[in-house]
């Protein structure tokens, strides 16, 4: 009964300012979807190529946020920080891949799952050791702190920019995967690794590159998402769960599936928080259960790396 009252009340208030509210909700949904997408894409890149489920992915997202915060606090231009942070997190990914993943590559996936699970705790601990428990807020450039009028509604400039930043990252990724030799090799290696190896490509470097790229995506998501909400030691764990949900719903290893799932989850979560707050905590998991009940391998199955 309470849920119906919530829907009715919320419907009433929408009608009173329908257009601006819908614009708000659409934009909020796109922002949320975008952040989920970047993180999940990174996870899928790593899984799609190397069949490694990186449990430390959320922690790398948090590391990216904190590195971005520190760079901006040290006086680095915010846009420069957006370029530098993924490179640094990718570098951390390189260290992880060479030291932890590589020795376990030939073993069962369970080994890397457990190792990256331990990595998650290690990175979380390092975050607390270096930056402490207090939440951090990124100081944005002045022009990003205001509001902008969109179809009659006032919307935060930075949130709007987030949508464009994420779109730019996705376009960059598409170009990398489709138009560059490295990207084409990655895509081929995800489906026919033996053939790629026979053609003389060093698969070790391919796996390394994929892992670094996945980590860089997590780092990029961290620095972009940081100013939206807050940066705190728990952000990694929470994002890991969300990104796994996106990956599972979209289909393990499927980049297109991740795009569809991220958009679906972003919109469902945003609209549910608005209309039926009682279900805000569970709606995404209910949706996941329903989808998996009918499509056990996700929307696009254990899909192709494209």
């Amino acid at each position: 009964m309470n849920i119906f009252i919530q829907i009715q009340r919320t419907g009433n208030l929408i009608m009173s300012g329908i257009f601006s509210t819908i614009i708000d909700l659409l934009l909020n949904s796109l922002v949320l979807s975008g952040v989920f997408l970047i993180v999940a894409i990174g996870l899928n890149i790593i899984y799609g190529l190397s069949r490694i489920m990186n449990m430390g992915h959320g922690a790398l997202y948090a590391v990216g946020a904190y590195i971005g915060y520190s760079l901006v606090a040290a006086g680095v231009n915010y846009f420069a920080a957006i370029l530098i942070t993924p490179l640094l997190v990718g570098g951390i990914g390189l260290l992880i891949e060479r030291s932890i993943i590589l020795p376990m590559r030939k073993r069962s996936m369970v080994y890397t799952l457990i190792l990256t699970y331990g990595l998650m705790f290690f990175l979380d601990g390092m975050i607390k050791l270096i930056w402490g428990n207090t939440p951090r807020f990124v100081e944005l450039p002045a022009f990003m702190q205001g509001m902008i009028s969109i179809f009659g509604t006032q919307y935060p400039v930075y949130r709007l920019m987030t949508i464009f930043l994420i779109a730019a990252i996705m376009i960059g990724l598409m170009l990398l995967l489709n138009k560059t030799k490295a990207g084409i090799i990655m895509r081929a290696a995800s489906t026919i690794p033996e053939m790629v190896s026979c053609l003389g490509v060093n698969m070790g470097y391919v796996h390394m590159g994929a892992f670094m790229l996945g980590c860089a995506m997590a780092g990029a998501a961290g620095i972009i998402a940081g100013p939206l909400t807050t940066i705190d030691p728990l952000m990694g764990g929470e994002m890991l769960i969300s990104s796994f949900v996106v990956v599972v719903i979209g289909g393990l290893g499927s980049l297109r599936g991740a795009v569809i799932a991220a958009i679906l989850i972003g919109f469902v979560q945003t609209f549910t928080e608005f209309f039926i707050t009682d279900l805000a905590m569970v709606i995404v998991y209910i949706m996941m259960a329903v989808i998996l009940a009918f499509m056990p391998r996700g929307l696009l199955g254990e899909g192709r790396f494209e």
């Binding site: 919530q6 208030l13 009173s16 300012g17 601006s20 909020n28 607390k128 207090t134 805000a280």
Partner: protein
């Protein structure tokens, strides 16, 4: 041979003397401290620990015996807290438990106190269910939800700019949030304050992106919002309200006091948060100022209300054990009824009626801090001081 015997006898005498000194040394009074040191309220838990440790250091001894604190992390999870409490009592031999941040955890411990059979004094649980919940369970610390509601409603009624506003109520979706929200709504309605959503909206504790809720606040057209959030989430919400341009248009009243370090991080975006709290470092009395400087000297961090009321609660517990003359649970419980301590926010007395404290409190609003020894840029400015009788509940 004679030399060996002499030396051996001499050594035996020395060891005997040392051993007898050990026998006469006083066993410490062991107190179990249950605080969240990980998770969303880790900073609050750390501040509670600081307050309790400071009290133990200043008290020095109880019954002529040193105080030994055994600190365990509850992780804000009731089952973890209960198992840690069992470890503190059964394995470590603690004679009392103190601390606990979350109402859910506090209620779980209270439900197991018969099994533990030691007094448990919370310094932070705010649920009204704690009034008279068990003869061995006490509260001396953070204001309870009903007391906070009284303070906030009185504060709203005293300000013409707040009295006429319509309030949207948004709470964290767990025991304390529901209780705090409902208490405010009931009291507000009795006093003619307009509430937009009497069945209050609930947000998961893990919520980071408040944009949907803020969009709803925007769409509703209200000019006030009453929030019942975990302390370190308050500045996050305030910052996002500011991002959406609502900081000046919608007045925020909070059921809990924001943490000082989180306020510092939020900066100007956290100005204008209004709420009742037991204490703020802006309280200007000799006792409060002295306590603040002692805390600052010890920990070099801005004194927080979590530390202050944990300090006071700990002092009440230590003095209660002293008064009991023993570490027997029932004796301590009997001694704690009616005990009081004069601390940074005046007299804090544990009511014999319901084992919960009565004390004065302050109404505050966050704003730019004046010059201060802590380097703080944001303060919770004291607007009004309530007496214990005003806040109740009546005895």
């Amino acid at each position: 041979m004679k030399k060996i015997v002499t030396i051996s006898l001499g050594l035996m005498m020395v060891f005997s003397l040392l051993a007898s000194q050990q026998v006469f040394a006083k066993d410490p009074v062991k107190i179990g401290v249950l605080v969240p040191l990980t998770g969303i309220v880790a900073q609050g838990g750390l501040e509670m620990k600081m307050g309790i440790e400071m009290a133990a250091k200043e008290k020095g001894t109880i019954l002529g015996r040193p105080i030994e604190l055994y600190v365990e992390d509850t992780q804000v999870k009731p089952p973890v807290a209960v198992s840690k409490a069992e470890k503190l009592v059964y394995k470590d031999g603690c004679k009392a438990l103190i601390g606990v941040f979350s109402s859910g955890v506090g209620l779980a411990l209270a439900a197991n106190i018969d099994k533990l059979n030691v007094p448990f004094l919370t310094t932070h649980v705010m649920t009204t269910e704690f009034y008279g919940i068990h003869p061995l369970v006490f509260r001396s610390g953070q204001l309870a939800n009903d007391q906070t509601a009284v303070g906030n409603v009185k504060g709203i009624l005293a300000r013409p700019d707040l009295k006429e506003k319509t309030y949207y109520v948004l709470v964290h979706d767990y025991a304390w949030g529901h209780d705090a929200g409902q208490r405010f709504i009931d009291l507000a309605k009795e006093n003619g304050i307009k509430i937009y959503n009497e069945d209050y909206d609930k947000a998961p504790i893990s919520t980071k992106d408040w944009s949907s809720y803020i969009s709803k606040i925007k769409a509703s057209g209200v000019d006030g919002v009453y929030i019942a959030f975990i302390t370190n989430v308050i500045p996050v919400f305030a910052k996002q309200m500011s991002d959406f341009g609502l900081q000046d248009k919608v007045k925020t009243i909070s059921a809990a006091a924001p943490g000082p370090l989180e306020l510092e991080a939020g900066g100007e975006a956290c100005y204008g948060i209004f709420g009742a709290s037991d204490w703020s470092w802006d309280v200007d009395t000799p006792e409060s100022n002295d306590w603040e400087m002692r805390f600052w000297e010890a920990y070099k961090t801005i004194p927080s209300d979590a530390a202050a009321h944990s300090y006071v609660g700990a002092m009440n517990l230590f003095n209660g054990i002293e008064k009991a003359g023993s570490t027997d649970a029932e004796a301590i419980a009997k001694a704690l009824k009616g005990i009081s301590f004069d601390g940074p926010y005046g007299n804090v007395r544990i009511s014999p009626k319901d084992n919960c404290m009565r004390n004065s409190a302050v109404l505050t609003e966050t704003m730019a801090a004046p010059e201060n020894p802590f380097g703080a840029k944001v303060t919770m400015k004291v607007l009004h001081t309530f007496t214990a009788e005003e806040l109740g509940p009546p005895e």
